[in-house]
């Protein structure tokens, strides 16, 4: 029985969206339609319901690895002891990846060597299981089970199908650009740059970009909420040597607080600091960053009364004063 469950989890699932048919999905993923039908126990002529999942037949090894690690990151591969995660570590199907209170990790999923891949960033206090990540018919499909914390999926034009399960429901996106956060008995999805599908209790919600939705356990997804606008960053300007941590931005109406975010890349796929500011008037004055990068990008996102994190502005680059570890780095022109 355990084997059957394990096998069922090892192949990625496809979320059936409105307009999909078994035949169209089979064609898109290079699978024989009859085989896909039989594999999922569908009667002849029956069509899967939007919001349901179809499992692709035949498993393959997960093509996933850790592309970045900051702070404490633990990895437990199936049948192995827990170990510290290191960049480049392979993550076979069933691998658990957890970040500590100050840890960040970025997973590269369904990577085609030298080609595209999907990138998922784990914020501190996050645990997930890599369930599947593979390439079929030139398309990429990945699936993770998020049990705690928060992940952000990088916006990736031509990206793969990424399905994130939580205890409350699931979120599926094509091309990234969304965030999923586990909350007590619920999960919160924020679609940033592209629409995503959110499923709860078998009901599918098509969440447009710049909207968020919450799924509570056993319930259909809540109504979409428009995310707060991106704050207009005031200072420091981009490209500065940051001698003093003096940040400012134009307040966003209706923001109850902000999230101060620092990454080592302009797309924020490699975050190194996320700090929830305690109130809307607070500005970060003390923080620590790993010096390895030499150049960092910062931005803030407004948090609304329902806890949805708003749209991100374009990040601004800064470097450390020369003479420090990591100092003397350069921002790209």
């Amino acid at each position: 029985m355990i084997f059957v469950v394990a096998a069922a989890w090892a192949a990625p699932h496809l979320l059936v969206r409105p307009g999909d048919s078994l035949e169209s999905l089979a064609a898109a993923w290079g699978v024989d339609a009859a085989e896909l039908r039989a594999h999922n126990g569908l009667a002849a002529g029956a069509q899967p319901r939007p919001g349901s999942l179809l499992e692709l037949p035949a498993r393959s090894e997960a093509m996933a690895n850790l592309s970045q690690v900051t702070g404490e990151v633990r990895v437990r591969r199936p049948g192995q002891a827990e170990a510290a995660g290191r960049p480049g570590d392979d993550l076979p199907a069933g691998t658990v990846v957890c970040t500590g209170a100050d840890g960040f990790a970025t997973l590269r999923l369904a990577s085609i060597p030298g080609g595209p891949h999907d990138e998922v960033s784990l914020l501190p206090g996050t645990c997930l299981v890599v369930e599947a990540a593979e390439v079929r018919a030139g398309r990429r499909a990945s699936e993770v089970e998020l049990s705690a914390g928060s992940v952000a999926v990088r916006d990736n034009a031509g990206g793969g199908e990424l399905l994130i399960r939580t205890g409350a429901g699931l979120t599926a996106g094509q091309g990234g650009g969304f965030r999923v956060t586990v909350e007590p008995a619920a999960a919160r999805t924020e679609a940033i740059s592209d629409p995503v599908a959110v499923v709860g209790a078998g009901e599918l919600l098509e969440l447009p970009a710049a909207h968020g939705a919450r799924v509570r356990e056993g319930q259909a997804p809540g109504a979409p909420v428009r995310l707060l606008d991106a704050p207009a960053l005031a200072s420091p300007a981009t490209g500065v040597v940051l001698a003093a941590a003096r940040f400012d931005w134009a307040p966003v109406a209706a923001a109850l607080g902000y999230r101060f975010f620092v990454a080592t890349d302009p797309d924020f796929a490699f975050p190194v600091l996320v700090d929830r500011l305690p109130d809307a008037g607070w500005r970060p004055t003390r923080f620590e960053l790993p010096a390895e990068a030499g150049a960092w990008w910062w931005r803030v996102e407004a948090i609304d009364a329902d806890g949805f994190v708003g749209m991100p502005p374009a990040g601004r680059c800064f470097t450390a004063p020369a003479g420090l570890s990591g100092g003397g780095g350069r921002c790209p022109p």
Binding site: L242, A243, A244, A245, R246, T285, R286, F287, E288, L289, P290, A291, E292, G294, A320, P321, G323, L324, S325, G326, G327
Partner: protein, 373 residues
């Protein structure tokens, strides 16, 4: 240079009969016991038991991964003890290849001869050879070019990834020094010709600290005063807990921060707060406690100045309140000067206008505000 002793036990079987002055030769096998067990095999030629010239060459496969050739020439003097039994001993000098590993060997051999065929010897020798030179810090590890950057002084004057700098390095005049750097490693200046072979050692466990404070504040980190430029300073500090002290503007603060290897901590220290002196209704006198607080603030003025403003609650007549507010401010000003501050560092600010909407107790006040000089 410390010598590494080796003890060699060897045995020889000759293939020529050894007469008094007859030449002979043999194969020699031996064990070298030094830092590790070593097996050697070689050959030797000798010229009789009384006054010998002996040469041997051995291959010492265990000395290094690729083995090492050892060639020795020895002189041995010998004595015939009895028919067929001779004793021989003498110094050896030798050279080991690759060149540069010169050694000396002394040994004693006892040779046995059956007068007919062959000659055996058992020997014990002690050999000293120089130890391998200690690795220099900048080349302790194999070169890792990835991330290594080189500062090219001529003709481009830029930092460049060393993988891309080959032609530029080759074009530099002989003897030109260049600087190499890599994140997390000690940067070093080396001869341009050696740049590609240099590996940088890890930087000591230090973290970066970027401290910002008001320009007039005095800041000490780990007991050393920081020179603030535009209110900011940065430094490398040893990993661990670092004490940060701040004084000026009437206050002194201390905090402990944790500096971590390979990380940068940005720390903004707060501006000095206002010091408030409260008065009873209609009163402008300072009590002993107020004077002590004012003296304490004066002692911590640093490079700041104080601006003193007075206030009065709105009840009563306006002219009297204006006068009262001024008397309160002037009293505090006088107390600051009495505490030792130069008069030009204590100025009077504008009095607070009475505010009917605020609690009266909060308005019977003098405010000492630290301001830049």
């Amino acid at each position: 240079m410390p010598a590494l002793p080796s003890v060699e036990v060897h045995a020889t079987a000759s293939f020529e009969e050894a007469e008094a002055v007859a030449p002979g030769g043999g194969l020699r096998g031996g064990l070298l016991l030094a830092e590790h067990l070593d097996l050697g095999l070689g050959g030797e030629l000798f010229a009789g038991p009384g006054g010998l010239v002996r040469a041997d060459a051995r291959w010492l496969p265990g000395e290094a991964a690729a083995g090492r050739l050892s060639a020795w020439i020895g002189l041995t003097g010998g004595i015939l003890f009895a028919d067929g039994v001779k004793g021989a001993g003498g110094p050896d000098v030798g050279i080991e290849l690759p060149l540069g590993r010169l050694g000396a060997r002394v040994g004693v051999s006892v040779l046995f001869s059956d007068e007919v065929w062959g000659l055996g010897s058992l020997g014990l020798s002690w050999r000293a050879r120089p130890a391998a030179p200690a690795p220099t810090p900048v080349a302790a590890a194999p070169p890792t070019l990835s991330g290594l950057e080189v500062w090219l002084p001529h003709p481009v004057c830029v930092w460049k990834p060393i993988e891309l700098a080959g032609a530029d390095l080759a074009a530099l005049p002989p003897g030109t020094r260049v600087r190499l750097a890599q994140r997390g490693r000690m940067s070093v200046e080396v001869d341009a010709a050696a740049a590609g072979d240099t590996a940088l050692v890890e930087a000591p466990a230090q973290g970066g600290l970027a401290v910002a404070a008001a320009a007039a504040d005095r800041v000490k980190v780990a007991g050393r005063e920081l020179g603030l430029k535009d209110g900011a300073a940065s430094l490398l500090a040893a990993e661990g807990v670092v004490r940060v002290e701040l004084s000026g503007g009437g206050r002194a603060l201390a905090d402990e921060v944790v500096v971590s290897r390979g990380r940068v901590l940005w720390l903004n220290l707060p501006d000095p707060p206002d010091l408030l002196v409260f008065f009873p209704a209609g009163g402008a006198e300072l009590d002993a406690e107020d004077r002590a607080r004012i003296a304490g603030a004066a002692a911590l003025l640093g490079d700041w100045a104080f601006e003193v403003s007075g206030g009065a609650s709105p009840e009563g007549d306006a002219a009297g309140n204006t006068l009262l507010a001024r008397r309160r401010a002037e009293g505090v000003q006088a107390a600051l000067v009495a505490a030792g501050l130069p008069a030009d560092r204590v100025r009077l600010g504008e009095a607070f206008a009475p505010d009917p909407g605020r609690p009266v107790e909060e308005q019977r006040v003098a405010r000492i505000r630290p301001v830049p000089r």
